[in-house]
């Protein structure tokens, strides 16, 4: 049956449609925010239409200059980044990048950031009726009004920002959680109660590297976000824990560098995945993955639904 389904899809030329919290994806593989720019550069590297959706770099209300000094550092099987959410602002995105992406005919998910509750709301409003497929709320950034503590590390703050955006936006709302918390399930529950349609797990872990030749922190910002294969076991654990306790679709992200890695996320309970840092090592990875998954499923006569959450059902 699975085979016949694939055959039909192939023959009909119809693109698969996957529902993820109200957003429609082409397949289950997306770029991770911040690792794919706004798509223009990658359009020269790969066929963007092989993506399930493109998730763009986080956008704030006004252009944001980001951090000074060194911004990326290699770490064992991973990297730190301290870009500091540099971006040209949501209006610039709408004017300069969105038309290009819309011409491409792929679902567009916009990652949004805010340094206050109000900023989140305004960015979300700007994106109403622009043709984007979903919003992905990055709640890992510091709330400048409340002393720089991230919205995503407190259940009540997370609840308030998600609820506020939920009330002001008609778009499917994905919320991307920070792993730098004692209890990810607690945050996930708060976010669900506030009206999120899906959860993206995980953002980067806070880390640091010291340049022993100078004795100084290597990154201009002192600390940065850890990503890449090194963090995958933590991401898998969080996806598994949240999938077990919270009834929302999950988008898994953190350290995927091959189909096997993606399968771990599906088996842990993710309905779709994003690929970030591994693209810097292997720029064509996202072009290969959808096909590799299809082949894997065909060979084993499996449907993806049987794979999603398998590890939870088999314990």
């Amino acid at each position: 049956m699975t085979d016949r389904y694939f055959l039909l899809v192939l023959l009909s030329g119809v693109k698969q449609v996957i529902d993820l919290g109200g957003a429609k994806l082409r397949n289950r593989f997306m770029s991770a925010s911040g690792c794919f720019g706004y798509g223009k550069e990658f359009a020269k590297v790969m066929d963007l239409n092989t993506l399930g959706a493109i998730v763009v770099k986080g956008l704030s209300l006004k252009p944001w200059p980001g951090n000074k000094g060194v911004r990326v550092a290699e770490t064992p099987a991973g990297m730190l980044n301290a870009i500091g959410l540099e971006n040209p602002g949501v209006d610039y995105f709408i004017d300069h990048y969105l038309p290009f992406l819309k011409a491409k005919d792929i679902p567009i998910v916009v990652n949004i950031v805010g340094h206050s509750l109000d900023e989140y709301i305004q960015v979300a409003r700007r994106l109403e009726k622009t043709g984007v497929e979903a919003l992905e709320l990055n709640i890992s950034c510091p709330n400048v009004k409340e002393g720089g503590i991230a919205f995503g590390t407190s259940p009540t703050k997370a609840f308030s920002v998600v609820k506020a955006v939920r009330e002001q936006s008609t778009l499917p709302l994905w919320v991307k959680l920070s792993p730098n918390v004692t209890d990810i399930v607690e945050i996930a529950c708060a976010v669900k109660d506030a009206g999120a349609d899906a959860l993206t797990l995980i953002n980067t872990l806070t880390g640091m590297v010291i340049d022993i030749t100078t004795g100084k922190p290597l990154l201009g910002n002192v600390t940065g976000g850890l990503s890449g294969p090194a963090i995958r076991p933590i991401a898998i654990r969080m996806v598994y824990q949240v999938a077990t306790k919270v009834d929302l679709p999950i988008i898994g992200v953190g350290g995927i560098s091959s189909l096997s890695d993606a399968l771990e996320f599906f088996m842990a309970g993710a309905s779709a995945v994003q690929v970030g840092a591994a693209l810097f090592r292997d720029p064509l990875l996202l072009e290969r993955l959808p096909k590799e998954l299809e082949d894997y499923l065909k060979q084993r006569q499996l449907s993806i639904e049987e794979v999603i959450g398998l590890a939870r059902r088999s314990v």
């Binding site: 720019g37 911004r71 990297m79 810097f280 090592r281």
Partner: protein
């Protein structure tokens, strides 16, 4: 730009800790000054690719000249050195490129100014300029005679002047001390101190920058710098994508260096 898995056909230590590497193949649309992202290890550690300039491309293949600075380049050099020289075709290297924008070639003369490991990318540039019939002067600076590289190759295309810090070869002192009044336009590559020093001369031309990179293709914003436009407006630029070559004098230094 593209992903290539190419056979290694030569790997030689041409000066202490500096290796000349030839890969069999060609890169479409290569401009001198561009670079490639090199996978130094099949395993996930070291994780990132290393940006290395293209030294030249000829019938033999693609030439990279690199210095073993840290862990990644050392692992690469050790791996390649442990192979039998006569049997290199069996070893492959993965590269992605060509990346960034090379040096714009203008006019009919040029001064190439290179310092240390900044010298190699200027060789391909010298060759291309020479092929276009330009008159080229190459000012090359090294720490000592021992570290001097590619001098004979430059002599095929350019008048070559050398400076070494200890005077063991050519002029004793800084390469900038070799700059003459009619050096413009200059094409420079080397340590930041050299590039900044050039700004104190009355010169126009281009310089090639280095920044720590993650993606190398313009998407991570890891290598961003601020550039001043002609009307003194600040503009954010990615060294990997908008550069690595920028017009001399327009980089705002000191905010994103190591």
């Amino acid at each position: 730009m593209n992903e290539y898995l190419l056979p290694v056909i030569e790997h030689k230590e041409i000066a202490p800790d500096i290796f000349s590497l030839y890969l069999k193949g060609n890169l479409k649309n290569y401009e001198p000054g561009q670079f490639v992202q090199v996978e130094v290890s099949e395993s996930l550690e070291p994780f990132l690719r290393r940006p290395i300039s293209i030294c030249e491309i000829d019938k033999k293949g693609i030439r990279l000249v690199y210095r073993t600075k840290g862990r990644g380049t050392k692992l690469l050099a050790n791996k390649l050195a442990s192979r039998d020289q006569n049997n290199y075709g069996k070893t492959y290297l993965r590269i992605f490129g060509p990346l960034g924008h090379g040096f714009p070639i203008i006019g009919n003369k040029a001064t190439l100014i290179g310092g240390g490991i900044g010298v190699p990318p200027l060789l391909g540039l010298a060759k291309k300029m020479w092929q276009q019939g330009m008159k080229i002067t190459a000012l090359l600076g090294f720490n000592t005679k021992e570290n001097a590289i590619l001098i004979d190759e430059f002599k095929n295309y350019a008048e070559v002047l050398i400076a070494t810090l200890d005077g063991s070869l050519g002029h004793r002192g800084l390469v900038t001390e070799l700059i003459t009044d009619n050096a413009t336009p200059v094409y420079a590559c080397g340590p930041e101190a050299l590039l900044r020093a050039l700004e104190r001369f009355n010169l126009t031309g281009y310089y090639s920058l280095e920044r720590r990179m993650a993606c190398g293709i313009g998407v991570c914003l890891g290598c961003n710098i601020t550039v001043l436009t002609k009307d003194k407006k600040e503009l954010r630029q990615r060294v990997c994508y908008d550069g690595p070559v920028f017009p001399l004098g327009f980089v705002k230094w000191g905010e994103a260096g190591d």
